[in-house]
């Protein structure tokens, strides 16, 4: 097991280096930040000098090495847009995104999985068909449209929920949280639903198709023959076997919530790293983009490691075989 973790950590480092190299070779095509950084009347020559001093004309690997060198010393450079240190800029906004994604993930798991189980257990029932059709709405309308519609209904017409922003937040050390204030919680509801809706549909359908297959297996029939209660069969034996293969996909989908947060945060003016990323793309704010991509790369690598470890915890067949072979499902 330890060998497996060590190997994965080495691979993770390789992934991060790859992410860094690709990012910096990419930054040549995201447009030129200089024009937006200098005043309207700065001469072209001065702009070129600034570009030279910032090292934007160097080759990608050199820029990447310089970035890593500074990053190692905790200095992620200044944002071209707000001239604030990128490290603190991201650190301030990571809690907002993580808390939003966490709520979206909770929404997806506590609504999506039961819906998947229900439609898997009673596929023919009209309510399952209805749930399937309704759940499709989440993926047939673009996120920005869903967001706006929710705001129009719940904020403008009904005045139940705030139309944008994080509401009151409580600062604990460097972390700012929404969970300790009433207005913070209310501000979380609409964005979490908008963010989670797409993943909800995917998770529900995967759980459903997996549940349908598990219910047909011999060990479920044998469990019934042993007179076990429906609850024990459906939520003990069947659910566990259903969730094992769903874990990898679910782990990834919840990880991609962060990537999806980009659009939701822009619509709800949610001060997270997603909104920061969109602004940095539009502004070609290279230091922020580089730090963001490495953060997301690190995050995905962690998610994958956790999902794999979760696999070991859940699926005994792997524990004895060890190694990265993963046998999923029934």
């Amino acid at each position: 097991m330890l060998a497996f973790i060590l190997r994965r950590i080495l691979q993770s480092i390789a992934v991060l280096v790859a992410v860094g190299l690709v990012s910096f070779s990419l930054f040549r095509y995201v447009g030129d930040p200089i024009n937006a950084m200098v005043g309207q009347d700065t001469t072209m020559e001065e702009r070129e000098q600034l570009r030279e001093k910032l090292g934007l004309n160097d080759a990608a690997p050199i820029q990447f090495l310089r970035f890593i060198g500074n990053a190692a010393r905790g200095n992620f450079g200044l944002s071209y847009r707000t001239s604030e240190p990128v490290g603190r800029l991201i650190l301030e906004r990571v809690p907002a995104t993580l808390e939003l994604s966490f709520c979206a993930a909770v929404f997806v798991l506590f609504v999506g999985v039961p819906m998947g189980v229900y439609t898997g257990l009673y596929p023919r029932h009209w309510s399952s068909r209805l749930l399937q059709a309704v759940s499709l709405i989440g993926i047939s309308l673009p996120t920005f449209l869903i967001g706006i519609l929710l705001i129009l209904v719940f904020a403008v017409m009904l005045h139940w929920l705030p139309s944008f922003g994080r509401g009151e937040t409580v600062r604990i050390g460097w972390w700012t949280t929404n969970f300790l204030t009433w207005s913070g919680l209310k501000a979380l509801i609409l964005p979490a639903i908008t963010l989670g809706l797409f993943q909800l549909t995917l998770i529900m359908r995967l759980v459903r198709s997996e549940m349908l297959e598990v219910m047909r297996t011999d060990y479920i029939k044998f469990a019934r023959a042993r007179g076990l209660t429906n609850r024990a069969i459906n939520f003990g034996h069947a659910l566990k076997n259903t969730l094992v293969p769903v874990i990898t996909v679910a782990g990834l989908q919840l990880g991609s919530l962060i990537a999806f947060a980009v659009v939701t945060e822009t619509v709800f003016a949610w001060p997270g790293v997603g909104q920061l990323f969109i602004q940095s793309v539009q502004f070609s704010d290279i230091p922020v983009m580089a730090a963001y991509l490495l953060l997301i790369g690190l995050f995905f690598v962690l998610i994958n490691l956790i999902v794999d470890l979760l696999y070991f915890a859940v699926d005994p067949r792997l524990r004895s075989q060890g190694g990265s072979a993963r046998v999923a499902g029934h």
Binding site: A36, G39, D41, Y80, L89, I148, F268, A269, Q282
Partner: protein
């Protein structure tokens, strides 16, 4: 200048009524008044010299005061300098207002003035271009500062209305002596904190999320507002911003997309303020390359031919663009400079009549292009109001006269990197492009000539933004002369001649001035200035 006056009266009266009732309500309102407002983008820094951008300058002028500030009619009025003037063509003096204190109670002195001016001209600051003519700044006694210039600069006072005064002691104590210098990678205290003499004090600054100002009880000037707290939040998505205003989560939004003005006017408790912005949006031609970049015509550049430019100019129906694309929120103009700017010659602002498509097509054929010609077109899609939609409309209009246009719309950073001239002033990568320009600093037409219309010249640094490379020697000579002409009448004559030159030459296709559209809830009184600045000191909450 007359046209400008006439339009002003209407705006003037509106402003007057606002002040009157502001005065009244200020007296009665004592209890806490919070004013919540939003804009599409955040103010990029608290450091007043970080960027020469209207929004940053107007926001920081709520916390800091300049020596000379502009009143509601954009005329200069005394602020921290009680008197100023030129003792001789190359020497300026500024008398300092006594008894003024910074927010932390420390007194405001001449040393602070000298320090601030040098910081504004120092490394990392964006305001350097206002000091091109300055030779030396020195303190003369406690109440006066004298500035000597390399050559007579009649506009120095105008330029310095944008330079606010900072506290020398505070800056030295908190390592904010210079603005944040990108190349040095270390943060500057002034980016997130502020110490000014202005009507409001900075209480909390969370970049990209929320910035809170509170009233400065011992401000040197009489407050013309009744606010105790101001909460500013950036809301990028226009639809969300409009919804927030309707829902009452914000009291005012600084930027309203023209499409939403109609629906907001119908809203019960919302009012809309519209006015022309000093920025002129125009189209430019590549008149430099022998042949166009993306065209089927080889060996010839159609845009070099004045007849072709005229045919195109008189086929673009700016009134139709105003009616549908801009929904009435624009002020068509045929000059490269807006009314309200010194040097706007009203009598030359007459758009030649529109040509029927057949007439224009015939002109194109006579110019030697029997089947018309093809050209690329570049436009931003998130810089000016409805920029992409205006270009699409132009593409449709030109298609009718045989000019096939391939449009490429991009976000501003990709766009500007593509079309602007390179460091060595070699031409950008475009044949037909859209640009917007407003001489924000000096409010004088020379800035337009110097940057946009004069021939690009690396040595004299002229024509930096003349992306199409239009070149008219006669105009170049006039522009250089007007820069230093101090006699107003002679200068105005030069301006008129130069303007006539580029209008008759159809050098550019000026479209319109964008409308500055703000929206606020009915219980808020505020004043909308022509240069799109928003001093909070004129806001009162009923």
């Amino acid at each position: 200048m007359k046209g400008y006056k006439m339009r002003l009266n209407f705006r003037h009266s509106l402003a007057l009524t606002a002040v009157v009732c502001a005065g009244l309500s200020a007296a009665t309102a004592a209890e806490a008044k919070t004013f919540k407002w939003a804009n599409s983008g955040d103010v990029s820094s608290m450091d007043p010299y970080a960027r020469q951008e209207t929004f940053l300058l107007t926001f920081t002028q709520n916390i800091y005061d300049p020596l000379i500030r502009r009143d509601k009619d954009l005329k200069l009025e005394p602020a921290l300098a009680t008197k100023w003037g030129q003792t001789d063509p190359t020497t300026w003096f500024f008398d300092i207002r006594p008894g003024v204190k910074f927010h932390d109670g420390t007194p405001f002195t001449a040393d602070d003035v000298v320090f601030s001016l040098n910081r504004a001209n120092g490394p990392g600051s964006n305001m350097g271009s206002n000091f091109v003519s300055v030779k030396e700044i020195k303190k003369v006694g406690d109440q006066r500062v004298e500035v000597t210039t390399k050559y007579p600069d009649p506009l120095l006072a105008d330029k310095w209305a944008a330079i606010v005064m900072m506290s020398k002691a505070w800056a030295e104590k908190n390592n904010a002596v210079n603005s944040a210098d990108m190349t040095k990678n270390e943060e500057n205290f002034a980016t997130r904190n502020a110490m000014g003499t202005g009507p409001f004090m900075l209480k909390e600054r969370r970049a990209g999320e929320k910035t809170i100002l509170v009233n400065n009880p011992n401000w040197w000037d009489k407050p013309t507002h009744n606010l105790t707290e101001v909460i500013f939040t950036p809301v990028a998505n226009p639809a969300t911003r409009i919804a927030a205003l309707k829902a009452g989560d914000i009291d005012m939004t600084y930027e309203v997309p023209p499409a939403d003005t109609e629906s907001l006017k119908k809203e019960a408790n919302v009012k809309v303020l519209e006015g022309p912005e000093t920025r002129v949006v125009f189209l430019g031609f590549d008149q430099e390359r022998p042949e166009l970049l993306e065209s089927n015509i080889k060996g010839k550049n159609p845009f070099k031919d004045k007849k072709v430019r005229e045919a195109i100019h008189r086929s673009i129906d700016v009134e139709a663009i105003k009616r549908t694309v801009m929904r009435g929120q624009s002020f068509p103009t045929d000059l490269m400079v807006a009314p309200g700017i010194n040097g706007y010659t009203k009598e030359l602002d007459k758009r030649p009549a529109l040509l029927k498509p057949e007439e224009a097509r015939k002109m194109i054929i006579d110019a030697g292009y029997p089947e018309g010609f093809e050209t690329g077109m570049d436009c931003p899609n998130d810089r000016y109001v409805n920029d992409e939609k205006i270009c699409q409309a132009v593409v449709a209009m030109l298609a009718k006269i045989g000019v096939k246009v391939n449009l490429r719309a991009q976000t501003r950073n990709l766009y500007f990197a593509k079309i602007l001239r390179k460091a060595d002033l070699s031409p950008g990568e475009t044949s037909f492009y859209m640009l917007g320009w407003s001489p924000a600093q000096t409010y004088d037409v020379h800035n337009v000539f110097e940057s946009l219309i004069q021939t690009p010249n690396k040595a004299t640094k002229k024509g930096q933004f003349n992306a199409g490379g239009y070149s008219n020697p006669a105009l170049d000579k006039l522009a250089d002369a007007m820069e230093q002409e101090t006699d107003k009448a002679k200068r105005d004559a030069m301006i008129k001649d130069a303007t006539k030159l580029y209008v008759d030459d159809f050098a550019y296709v000026p479209l319109h001035q964008q409308a500055v559209v703000w929206a606020a809830r009915k219980n808020i009184d505020l004043v909308q200035l022509a240069d799109n600045t928003f001093p909070l000191r004129f806001v009162t909450v009923k």
